[in-house]
């Protein structure tokens, strides 16, 4: 399943360019509500997705555009969803925080911190019970590790040996509260170990390291060893959301992390190893820009879901015909 080296770069650049455009579109009020950018954390989503197969399921958070793109959710449908248009992946019902795509077995939109963890364990239970091969990869931040749901989900997954890959994106802050101010024990691998889960801390700015760690963990899960836990040390380069003035982080700290930009690190590696030429990287960048332009054009084309559909899909009526995802 290992993607070819340029593919990792392509995915990270797609996410970066897509989200940079999102920030612009937000100031033009094309995108409304809360907007949480993943910029800086791309290596985690891309590295883990690179290790997954089409059979696997994904649960992410409200900071999930990157995961959706890396998983193959169409960029146009994603952008249209953020525009609130009916050609969006949830017909404009969800918005930035509730991105879902059954065809990619992707459910990104848990906007209550920690709320996705029990769901992920249940998705895994269904796969195991129905004899399907999938592993459920569950993304969450360091802030989620204090929620009760987090501990309940870890215990249940470990107790019943369910195929879950817990992916902690430790970006050092729960919104504006530093890890040391929200966790009594800042070693986030301790708690999963207390629940009997093998846990590993990994450099989340190195996409290859992320992918290798995920591959190792997935091998163990697919063997039937039960869940695994990976903590990726990462950092968001932008504020928590577009509303956040970001006054709680030291400028030198931000600069220190930006010096380890996952895109720059991987570009250097590709060039140094002779796996890519500068022109290849430029082409990747140009292709990503073109994809984003096309996504915006697709979103602009979409209409708003008609008023007659307001009460649609509150309850199921014809769902039996569709079958389960």
């Amino acid at each position: 399943m290992t993607p070819e080296p340029l593919e990792r770069m392509r995915q990270m650049v797609r996410i970066r360019r897509f989200e940079e455009r999102c920030a612009e579109l937000y100031s033009q009020t094309k995108i409304r509500g809360f907007l949480h950018l993943y910029i800086g954390e791309e290596a985690v989503g891309v590295g883990v997705m690179g290790a997954l197969t089409d059979d696997d399921q994904i649960v992410a958070t409200y900071r999930e555009h990157g995961h959706a793109l890396a998983r193959g959710v169409d960029a146009g449908a994603l952008m249209a969803e953020m525009f609130g248009r009916s050609n969006g992946c949830a017909r404009g019902r969800g918005g930035s925080m509730h991105i879902a795509d059954v065809s990619r077995r992707f459910w990104g939109g848990f906007a209550i911190v920690g709320g996705g963890l029990p769901i992920a364990v249940g998705l895994a239970l269904a796969d195991k019970t129905l004899g399907r091969a999938g592993v459920t990869a569950c993304f969450f931040g360091d802030g989620a590790t204090e929620e009760g749901a987090y501990h309940e989900a870890l215990n249940l997954a470990s107790l019943w040996k369910l195929p879950v890959l817990f992916v902690c994106e430790n970006n050092q802050y729960a919104m504006g509260t530093a890890l040391s101010a929200h966790a009594a024990d800042t070693e986030l691998t301790h708690e999963p170990r207390a629940h009997g889960i093998v846990a590993e801390r990994v450099d989340g700015m190195d996409v290859v390291a992320v992918e290798q760690a995920a591959t190792r963990a997935l091998e163990a899960i697919r063997r039937g060893d039960g869940p695994r836990f990976l903590e990726f040390m990462t950092y968001r380069f932008r504020a928590h959301s577009m509303y956040d003035a970001d006054k709680y982080r030291d400028k030198t700290e931000i600069a220190r992390w930006k010096a380890r930009d996952p895109l720059a690190l991987y570009a250097e590696y590709l060039l140094a190893e002779g796996l890519a030429a500068r022109a290849d990287l430029d082409a990747i960048d140009a292709a990503a820009m073109a994809e984003v332009d096309a996504a915006v054009a697709f979103a602009e084309q979409g209409g708003l879901e008609p008023i007659e559909d307001l009460t649609k899909d509150v309850y199921t009526h014809d769902v039996s015909a569709r079958g389960a995802p």
Binding site: G122, T316, V319
Partner: protein, 340 residues
């Protein structure tokens, strides 16, 4: 000349409510391999109230699953399982414990279908005893119909007889939306006739448990029996009451309510749960909005007193609806307004 053969009366069995519930779950689990039961003490302990007695033996530990005491975790887990193709029945030892799972039920079970524009649905039943039993004090005695009926995306069923428990639980398990299914600890041992042949009772249909002409008592779950006893006594005093068992709170059978008020022109709602923003308030508002001209008197509500359940047995009884409180309300509503 051959005599016409009388249609044989359907064969029935006298079942306790817990047996009717068990029969419903077991039949559905035999019929559909994706249905399973999970909750605290449902398997090896045979159920805290023995509803699931023997089910572990028949279905095995993969389908009758004991959970840790982690309501938020296992409720969320079951919702995830429902999203991915299973049909979980989650037993809460009491609905009081569902408060710990409130985030998962409201933010996920109730919303996922709409949030994903129908991509994912959540066919799940949460079930367990609801309302006051005896001497269980403040934190084990609440009624939750109004709480869960508040949220679009959820259905709320609350049953008071073995036959309804059976027929509605089967419908709930086959339903593709999340159903909050409320029973009563006080009724688990109550017996009633249940047809031996399989049947379903549709969600959203009320049932007239007693016919009458002067006043309609609207109720559900164990207060049905309070209302039937009150109606019996009132009959002897010359007041004829009908008892309308809603059975489902959401979707509400508005037509049955409107038909009832068009017939009796007087209505009293008898419910457990607090007065403020309770189901009775919703019924009174809807009936008044639609049938104001049919009403001869304002709709009255008999509810729990607006306070938490005390342990003291005298005070405990005073909090809940009672035959005497219902009778007084009927007499009051019949003494007011037109034609009184």
């Amino acid at each position: 000349m051959a005599l016409p053969i009388a249609a044989a009366a359907p064969r029935t069995s006298l079942l306790q409510t817990r047996e009717a519930l068990r029969r419903a779950m077991s039949e559905e689990m035999r019929r559909d391999p994706t249905v399973f039961l999970m909750g605290e003490e449902v398997a090896y302990y045979d159920g805290a109230y023995k509803v699931s007695q023997g089910m572990l033996h028949e279905f095995g530990p993969e389908r009758v699953i004991d959970t840790p005491i982690a309501e938020n975790g296992f409720s969320g887990l079951a919702i995830g399982a429902a999203m991915a193709g299973l049909r979980p029945i989650v037993e809460f030892m009491t609905w009081n414990f569902s408060l710990v799972a409130f985030d998962q039920i409201i933010n996920n079970a109730a919303k996922i279908y709409q949030m994903t524009a129908g991509a994912y649905h959540v066919p799940i039943v949460f079930r367990g005893p609801n309302g006051a039993a005896e001497a269980l004090g403040s934190q084990h005695s609440m009624a939750f119909e109004s709480i869960y009926a508040h949220f679009p995306g959820l259905k709320v069923v609350s049953v008071g007889t073995p036959k309804d428990a059976y027929g509605l639980l089967k419908s709930a398990i086959r339903d593709n939306d999340p159903v909050m299914f409320m029973e009563s600890e006080m009724l688990y041992g109550m017996k009633g006739e249940v047809p031996d042949e399989e049947f379903l009772i549709p969600i959203g249909k009320a049932d007239l448990k007693r016919d009458g002409t002067d006043c309609t008592l609207v109720t559900w779950n164990k207060q049905i029996h309070t209302c039937l006893a009150a109606a019996e006594q009132l009959e002897k005093e010359g007041i004829s009451c009908q008892v309308l068992d809603l059975r489902t709170i959401r979707p509400l059978d508005e037509q049955a309510l409107f038909d009832a008020v068009c017939k009796t022109h007087r209505m009293v709602v008898v419910q457990e749960g607090y007065t403020f923003a309770g189901v009775g308030a919703e019924i009174a508002a809807r009936v008044t909005e639609a049938c104001f001209d049919q009403l001869d008197a304002p709709i009255l509500r008999i509810t729990n007193k607006d306070l938490n359940q005390p342990y003291n047995p005298t005070l405990e009884k005073m909090v809940l609806p009672s035959v005497d409180r219902v009778k007084d309300a009927v007499k009051l509503v019949c003494s007011r307004g037109k034609g009184a």
